[in-house]
């Protein structure tokens, strides 16, 4: 019997859509397996970009089931080692959204996190669509995204409309003729 949810979830590898992994997680997060400079990326590890997307999904209440072939990049144990508060927060957000009963099944907890992260990726695509594909090329805009988050009451009023898959494809494909470039 697992002792607690924090430990229970650590063995799981969250899934994400390949497209979003390539265009967000690997674009802004340092991938140890690739020959590149760590300092060239805003996020020092892949999980950080994923967690940022998941937090955005939870914050904007945007949850979206994964489609197509999934991809895995790390285990939750990596988050537990490097950002214990973030893993706690993600689990707590799941509890806030689904009620405590979901904690019975760490697999379900993971699924909820994956779907909110998926929603968060779409929010990031929307920002890029609105502000330009290289918006986060200027690293100060990561901070700007934080400052742009509105207080909860205001946010509720302007809640982002859920987007359809076709919209996202058009964002990724915007003017690049199929060559995804952000």
């Amino acid at each position: 019997m697992e002792t607690n949810i924090y430990q229970a979830i650590q063995g799981i590898e969250p899934e994400m859509e390949i497209l979003k992994r390539q265009h967000i997680v690997e674009k802004y997060g340092y991938n140890k397996g690739v020959n590149e400079r760590k300092s060239s990326k805003y996020f020092g590890m892949l999980w950080e970009a994923f967690a940022w997307a998941a937090i955005l999904g939870f914050y904007h209440d945007k949850r979206k089931p994964l489609q197509g072939e999934p991809s895995k990049a790390f285990k939750y144990s990596t988050i537990a080692r490097n950002g214990p508060d973030i893993l706690d927060s993600l689990i707590l957000f799941v509890v806030a959204k689904e009620g405590y009963g979901i904690l019975k099944d760490s697999g379900k907890v993971n699924k909820v996190i994956e779907e909110y992260a998926n929603g968060g990726f779409e929010i990031i695509f929307t920002i890029l669509k609105e502000k330009g594909s290289d918006y986060f090329g200027d690293e100060s805009n990561f901070l700007q995204e934080i400052l742009d988050r509105k207080p909860i009451i205001e946010k509720e009023k302007n809640k982002l409309q859920p987007s359809k898959n076709t919209e996202i494809e058009s964002i990724i494909d915007d003017g690049e003729g199929g060559n995804f470039k952000f």
Binding site: N4, W52, F58, G83, V95, A96, K97, G101, I152
Partner: protein, 710 residues
């Protein structure tokens, strides 16, 4: 004798690409232009053609044939790119007219040719080893209105040129504003004495005095010789004569020693000039290099600070800041956790109530275990038997929640680790906006600082590049500390020599007095019938003349200083007598040439900045003006940036005063550039040119354009 510069032509000289020409007239000629428009290069053209001198070259270097820094870079670059076999010719031609010498017109041409070496492609065009240098050539030709022509080449030409424009007077009538301090240093009266000596006529009296003294001694000797021939008291005569000989020898040796020391002093003065010139070349350069180094260090430090802040930001972003705005979710989760814990607690309480009725107390169980008998079912329970174990398991059973649902306990295990975490995290993510904003402004401040310092660094590097290009790479080898220490040694040696000269001069004077007495003594031995009337009379005349000249020299010196002082103060008054500007007067000490500033009532009145510059310019102008009048010559006055310290009104008055002082003056300045239309209308300006920089993609290859405004 008036000299008028008719014009100057420049071909591929410094920033003047191709053929360029300036025509000048009598009176005031102005060449105006912004910084970098080529003004100082024009001044250098005058210096090169007349004195084979370029600013920035060390004194010993003035004839160095391998220096091509004054040949236009653009033409060198073109020739380099096209691998041209044609020579590049750099040439400056000056035309001068002397109206009083039958309108004689002198043409002075100095030129230099260079060729590309084979294999030059491996280098860059401004490297020395890319080029072969021809010796520079000087031609001085003159013709009068009857077309009588003479032509002089190289060495002969240099001699001829020196007779027209002696180099000695160069720095007083042709100078750059920045050299003014070196020329006339109010802290060092020697500079004023030197200026007056160079430019005045007082040295003529010294020559006269020497000639008279020589004649005097000759006459005295003749008298003595005639006395000896007829003298009866030979012994006394011989003694006196011996003493006279000794004194004369001492005087001759003293004079020759004085001469040697004076030559050594002259050498030291010239060495001092040379060192001062080097310092003038370096003016500001070491400070610029130091500033460059300091800025590089500061920029590196700022870069490091920004990089540290960026790392800090990334850590904070990932661990804290990206959770911004999730407070409500965390609070909700906290409530959910509390809800479950309450729910479970209720179940525990409920179970405890149910268990309390049927379960025996611990005291009864202990009795049963001791007696090994169950009093509930009244059966034996032997120690170790299943019955005994069953009874024992009932111990503490009223304190333990028993038999809660497995799922609830499993959930409890999972959820319990989350208890307290929401409030912990909520505490950590307080004030994120404030922290992020403060962090952003800190980074912005550092980045702005870095940009500002980078711009400053670019400017300094541009200035360094300009100075090195203009003054040559040798500049980088000049060490100001060494120059200053040599200068200090030279100055000390100079003072020692001056003291020695003074002491030798005093010895000479003493010996001369003694000699005079000896002559009187010996003349007493003269027989009454000896006739030396003519010599005696002549001796008296020479003594008288010597005295007169000495008094006259002193008188003239005092008068000259007074005239210089008055004339300088007149110039001061005419230039500075504008509303709100206090006129400061100059007072020169008649004996030691020290100078002080006074007000109209003669009370001390310290001067500074532009007033100082104006005072110096006024003194120089006064000396030159008086000297020109006295020696009946009139050189054109050429100055580069003499007015850079002055306010607009000062400049205006100063230029007008210059136009009144000199028959011809050529002023190169940036100070009029914003008001050319206004100055065009000024009657006292006869010619007005505007110089402009013609920028090319590579700044170093930029050239000039010349526009005649008037």
């Amino acid at each position: 004798m008036i000299m008028i510069i008719k014009g100057i032509s420049l071909k591929n000289f410094k920033s003047f690409y191709g053929d360029n020409e300036f025509i000048f007239s009598n009176g005031l000629n102005i060449i105006s232009g912004h910084e970098g428009a080529g003004k100082s290069n024009l001044f250098d053209a005058f210096m090169w053609v007349l004195f084979n001198r370029i600013s920035g070259l060390k004194k010993g270097e003035k004839l160095a044939e391998s220096n091509n820094s004054y040949i236009n870079d653009r033409i060198k670059n073109e020739s380099f790119i096209n691998s041209s076999t044609e020579p590049i010719i750099c040439e400056v031609q000056l035309n001068v007219i002397i109206p009083e010498e039958n309108n004689k017109e002198y043409t002075v041409i100095r030129s230099k040719s260079i060729y590309l070496n084979k294999g030059h492609e491996k280098n860059v065009f401004y490297e020395k080893n890319v080029w072969t240098y021809e010796n520079s050539e000087l031609i001085v030709s003159c013709k009068d209105k009857n077309y009588n022509e003479e032509e002089y080449l190289n060495k002969e030409a240099e001699t001829k040129l020196d007779s027209i424009f002696p180099e000695k007077i160069r720095k007083y009538i042709w100078f750059q504003g920045e050299q003014l301090n070196e020329l006339l240093d109010f802290e060092n009266p020697e500079t004023l004495r030197k200026a007056i000596d160079y430019l005045s006529y007082l040295s003529v009296y010294e020559h006269m005095s020497d000639i008279i003294s020589y004649s005097h001694n000759m006459l005295e000797n003749r008298i003595v010789n005639s006395i000896r021939a007829n003298n009866r008291d030979k012994k006394k005569f011989d003694n006196l004569k011996q003493e006279i000989d000794l004194k004369e020898k001492a005087i001759i040796s003293g004079k020759s020693s004085k001469l040697l020391k004076e030559k050594a002093l002259e050498k030291l003065i010239s060495e001092e000039d040379e060192l001062n010139e080097k310092l003038a070349i370096l003016a500001g350069f070491p400070e610029l290099k130091e500033k460059e180094g300091r800025l590089i260090g500061e920029i590196e430090m700022l870069k490091e600070q920004v990089s540290n802040l960026n790392d800090q930001e990334k850590t904070l972003f990932v661990n804290k800041w990206m959770l911004k705005g999730t407070d409500d979710l965390l609070m909700k989760a906290d409530k959910e956790i509390a809800k479950f814990i309450n729910y479970r607690q209720n179940l525990v309480t409920e179970n405890r109530k149910q268990l309390a009725e049927g379960v025996p107390g611990d005291q009864l169980i202990h009795d049963m275990l001791e007696k090994q008998h169950c009093t509930v079912c009244d059966r034996p329970a032997k120690k170790g038997s299943p019955e005994f174990i069953s009874i024992k398991s009932q111990l503490d059973s009223n304190k333990v929640v028993k038999a809660l649902d497995y799922d609830i306990e499993d959930l409890y295990e999972k959820i319990i680790s989350l208890r307290g975490k929401p409030s912990n995290i909520l505490f950590k993510i307080k004030n994120i906006d404030e922290n992020v904003t403060a962090h952003k402004s800190k980074i912005e401040f550092l980045l702005n600082e870095r940009n500002r310092k980078n711009k400053e660094l670019d400017n300094i590097r541009e200035k360094i590049k300009e100075i090195v290009r203009e003054k040559g790479h040798e500049l980088l080898n000049l060490n100001p500390t060494n120059i200053n220490s040599t200068l200090l040694r030279v100055r000390t040696d100079k003072i020692t020599l001056m003291r020695q000269i003074n002491s030798v001069t005093n010895d000479i004077i003493l010996n001369e007095t003694k000699l005079k007495n000896l002559y009187i003594e010996i003349s007493k031995l003269k027989k009454s019938d000896e006739i030396n009337i003519i010599e005696e009379k002549l001796v008296r005349y020479t003594e008288f003349l010597s005295e007169v000249i000495s008094k006259q020299t002193e008188k003239e010196k005092i008068e000259l200083i007074e005239k210089i002082q008055n004339s300088a103060n007149d110039i001061q008054k005419s230039v500075a007598n504008i509303n709100n500007i206090v006129v400061v007067f100059i007072e020169i000490d008649r004996k030691d040439y020290t100078l002080k500033f006074v007000d109209a009532n003669g009370n001390p009145n310290p001067s500074h900045g532009a007033q100082n510059t104006l005072a110096k310019m006024s003194i120089i102008n006064a000396i030159v003006k008086l000297s020109n009048e006295k020696k009946n010559r009139n050189y054109p006055f050429i100055a580069d940036a003499p007015t850079s310290d002055f306010a607009m009104e000062f400049t205006d008055r100063f230029l007008e005063s210059v136009s009144n002082t000199y028959q011809q003056s050529i002023i190169i300045t940036k100070d009029l550039i914003s008001n050319l239309d206004l100055y065009k209308k000024k009657g006292y300006i006869k010619k007005l040119y505007e110089l402009q920089k013609q920028c090319t993609e590579e700044i170093a290859l930029s050239t000039n354009s010349i526009t005649i405004i008037k």
